[in-house]
Amino acid sequence: MKDRDFKIYRGDNERGELVNYKCKVTEGMVVLDVIHRIQADQANDLACRWNCKAGKCGSCSIEINGKPRLACMTRMNEFDDTEKIVITPLKSFPVLKDIVTDVSWNYEQNKKIIPFSPSKKDKEKDFVMMQKDVDRVQHFRKCIECYLCQNMCHVVRDNDGKKNFSGPRFMTRLASLEMHPMDKADRIGDIRDVHGSGMCNITRCCTEVCPEEIQITDDAIIPLKERVIDRFYDPVMIFFRKIFGKN
């Protein structure tokens, strides 16, 4: 057992500072264990979000030495023995207290998405969908809504960007609906106008931080952009639609 040094942000959105703590680190500990130990022994009121402690709920997203991570899945033995560990809140969202941020903006984005819409006829019987046709949808649905991708997205990070772009998490959700074999809704217009697919310039930062390793950029955002282009910008497709109707 050794004592190690930690700096944790304490404060709110306006004022705050990095406070020094020491904590004994034992075998197998993750950063969330350290936060809990400090909370129990030294700082009962240290605010921190967490739930499952197994990388399944996406609650404990924070920045560790400047990198967005899940505290429950970041092992202490990743760091050098003498390295000081700095724990700060996600940068893209307002701080509520200490390392807890206000992520309500994400819930507003989700609500704007046209929900899953199968046809009435399909709902009368069991869905028949082949595994290969739902593989990609399931890949998207692995998302645990940790919002690390949202935090990392430079468009979302900018406040004006938040007005124009729903962010990678919700591009992924839109893709999961658009590629669902039984879904009948048309979201292409919304994807461009409401969710701002054009705002993404494919820097792939979101994909790099995804703890579920979802190929957000290549599998979700780019195919959505292509669908938007087909609908609104492809002269051949526009010509065909004029002649043969919408589909």
């Binding site: 034992t26 075998e27 197998g28 500990m29 993750v30 264990d33 909370q39 129990a40 022994d41 009962n44 009121d45 240290l46 605010a47 921190c48 979000r49 967490w50 739930n51 499952c52 402690k53 197994a54 990388g55 399944k56 709920c57 996406g58 609650s59 899945m73 092992r75 509520l96 207290k97 200490d98 807890v100 992520v103 819930y107 989700n110 609500k111 998405i113 929900p115 899953f116 199968p118 709902k123 069991d126 869905f127 028949v128 969908m129 082949m130 595994q131 739902v134 949808v137 399931q138 649905r141 692995k142 998302c143 645990i144 809504e145 959700r173 609906l177 669902h180």
Partner: protein, 622 residues
């Protein structure tokens, strides 16, 4: 005197506390009725409730993989798993309704793994006769909660996140009239006036040291319902899941899905022996393989082969691991070896159990496609809970409903894996509909008495306001240690009494609990508020465990090692007595319905024949 006129009030017809699978299902069901205002309060952010951690699947007799399945067989499995102590009616409703609820979930957007024919795939699990669990790899809970969440947000439900419920208010006639809550972020109080209240608040697994449960599992529903005069039932039945992680120490207790065994994983001791063959209970001997050769045939899909003993019910497997460890045949860190690496190829493992692969790789630096896992029992689930009427989900308090893990009765002495997620859907839906019916019959809102509100708020704020006092975290740690040691997986009279004494001692320490800091997002304060409910839940567990002098399902008394017939006639009830102390009583069970009794006690051969006839009759009609 405290002025409560500034405190915000919101009125609902139906208010649901808890937004896991049960709470969301209840809120969605209630919101289908026009002109009914529905609210939903959750302690965490929406979509983070404990349901998200469920891995294996939801049990429903869809018959997609084995068409011999039927509600009757699911019902029989559930009763046998529960050691016949289940509420008969609840087990019947559950088995009959589960398939419709799973299909509904698919229609709301859940994307289950598929069979070759493109239908919902189903997997094997402990105690289930056929492959019965609809699943998505090993992240079924996530699929369920996200589907309910994304569907629920469009149903006009008023959702209050990160909001802790403190206590219920009742009008002078004893009906529920509201509930006082507190927003965790700001510490601001709010009064929800409501005609009916549904508790979907989960269990109290945080009473133990080694648990698969998150911080939310503090028995809030049990505590609040108990204080409001409701009865708690079957609280001695606490499921210790046989396979939690045991190493490294910081992850001890985290769940390893039963799906590992469902997909073929085997249990071995330190001598390399596959020990479960030595622990087959007589009652299950007919339906369990007795050689490795037969178990292997079963895994290959031979319908005539019997199930491997690793898939016996959870109580049996947990006790077996415990016995092996006590006999000195445990794994390096005091568990058993769970081996899937030698049973399935790496690609299959990664496809079927992706989050287990990931979890062990990151948290234990172990590759489950190459090495065996180390596993041991972890507190997982409360079979017991708030006593409800099977057909309405109403508790013994008028206007208070309960569903999911918060409610007791459905699972008897032991729950089968996969029956929880289906329980959430079935009884979430039922309680939502029944709460609407109840609320529609009330012409006006039952009155919330100011005095009650003031008392509730004073109790909460005094924790912050006292000059000094006891550290809530340390009281909680002491409780967990004592419950782990004294009221754990194997129990004796002496230890349970020690456990009760510790709880009494901690209750007096709790009276002087102090949380430093302000009311804004203060985890110490939240911990102290939850402690009352943890203590009530633990007391009910310990006292019920002391009274039940037999071993049945998940309740194992070393001093009374066998099931005793006379105890099959009783459930144990806990309620607040007139003197304010907890009363623990034996309550005579109702006689089962003759038809249900017949089905549950049929031999499997008889019942399979009967079901075949039923199915043929149905087919000839179509």
């Amino acid at each position: 005197m405290l002025d409560i006129s500034d405190i915000r009030r919101i009125k609902f017809d139906v208010l649901v506390i808890g937004a896991g699978g049960a709470g969301l299902s209840a809120a969605i069901a209630a919101s289908q009725e026009k002109n009914i205002k529905v609210g939903l309060v959750c302690k965490s952010l929406l979509g983070k409730a404990h349901t998200v951690m469920a891995e294996g699947g939801m049990a429903a007799a869809l018959g997609n993989v084995d068409n011999r399945d039927d509600w009757k067989i699911h019902f029989r499995d559930t009763m046998r798993g529960g050691k016949m102590l289940n509420n008969w009616k609840m087990a019947e409703i559950h088995a009959k309704d589960a398939p419709a609820r799973v299909r509904e979930l698919e229609h709301w957007g859940a994307v289950f793994d598929r069979t070759k024919d493109g239908l919902i795939n189903q997997r094997n699990f402990g105690g289930h006769r056929y492959p019965r669990l609809a699943h998505v790899g090993d992240r079924t809970g996530l699929e369920m909660i996200r589907t309910l969440q994304d569907h629920g947000i469009h149903q006009g439900i008023d959702i209050h996140m990160e909001c802790t419920a403190l206590d219920i208010t009742k009008d002078n006639s004893g009906r529920v009239s509201g509930i006082v809550c507190m927003y965790r972020e700001t510490g601001e109080f709010i009064i929800f006036e409501t005609k009916s209240l549904i508790f979907a608040t989960g269990g109290a697994g945080k009473s133990w040291e080694v648990t698969s449960n998150s911080w939310e599992y503090t028995g809030d529903g049990y505590g609040m319902a108990y204080e409001a005069g409701a009865e708690l039932i079957d609280m001695e039945f606490n499921q210790f899941h046989p396979t939690g992680m045991v190493w490294p120490p910081s992850v001890k207790g985290i769940l390893v899905t039963e799906g590992v065994r469902g997909e073929g994983g085997i249990l071995k001791n330190s001598q390399g022996k596959r020990f479960m063959f030595d622990y087959i209970p007589e009652k299950f001997a007919n339906e369990t393989a007795d050689t490795e050769e037969e178990a292997a045939r079963w895994l290959r899909g031979d319908k005539d082969a019997r199930r491997p003993p690793e898939l016996l019910t959870r109580d049996v497997v947990a006790r077996a691991i415990n016995t092996e460890v006590k006999a000195g045949r445990g794994s390096e860190h005091g568990g058993a070896y769970l081996d899937i690496a030698t049973q399935r190829n790496a690609e299959d493992i990664k496809k079927k159990l992706p989050s287990m692969y990931h979890q062990f790789k990151v948290l234990a630096e172990l590759d489950i496609t190459k090495q065996p896992m180390e596993v041991g029992p972890t507190c997982h689930y409360f079979m017991g809970g708030i006593k409800v009427n099977a057909e309405t989900s109403m508790t013994t308090v008028k206007g208070l409903f309960a569903c999911g893990e918060a409610a007791g009765g459905m699972h008897g002495a032991n729950r089968l894996g996969g029956n929880s997620l289906s329980d959430l859907l079935v009884f979430g839906n039922l309680s939502g509909r029944k709460a609407v019916e109840y609320s529609k019959n009330l012409k006006s809102y039952p009155k919330v008495n100011d005095k009650d509100v003031k008392n509730i708020i004073k109790k909460a704020t005094s924790i912050l306001n006292r000059e000094k006092g006891n550290n809530p975290y340390l009281i909680h740690e002491d409780l967990q240690k004592s419950m782990q040691y004294n009221v754990g997986i194997i129990r004796t009279k002496k230890e349970i009494i020690d456990g009760v004494n510790t709880i009494n001692n901690l209750k007096s320490q709790f009276k002087n609990v102090k949380a430093p800091g302000t009311s804004q997002f203060n985890p110490g304060w939240h911990e102290a508020i939850a402690l009352r409910n943890l203590l009530i839940s633990s007391e009910a567990v310990a006292k019920s465990a002391l009274l039940r002098e037999e071993s049945r399902g998940a309740h194992t008394r070393e001093d009374f090692p066998d099931e005793r017939k006379e105890w099959l006639e009783y459930n144990i009830i806990n309620k607040k007595g007139k003197d304010g102390e907890m009363e623990t009583l034996k309550e005579k069970r109702n006689e089962p319905d003759t038809e249900l009794n017949r089905i549950a006690n049929s031999s499997i051969e008889e019942l399979e024949k009967e079901v075949k006839k039923d199915h043929n009759k149905l087919m000839s009609k179509v």
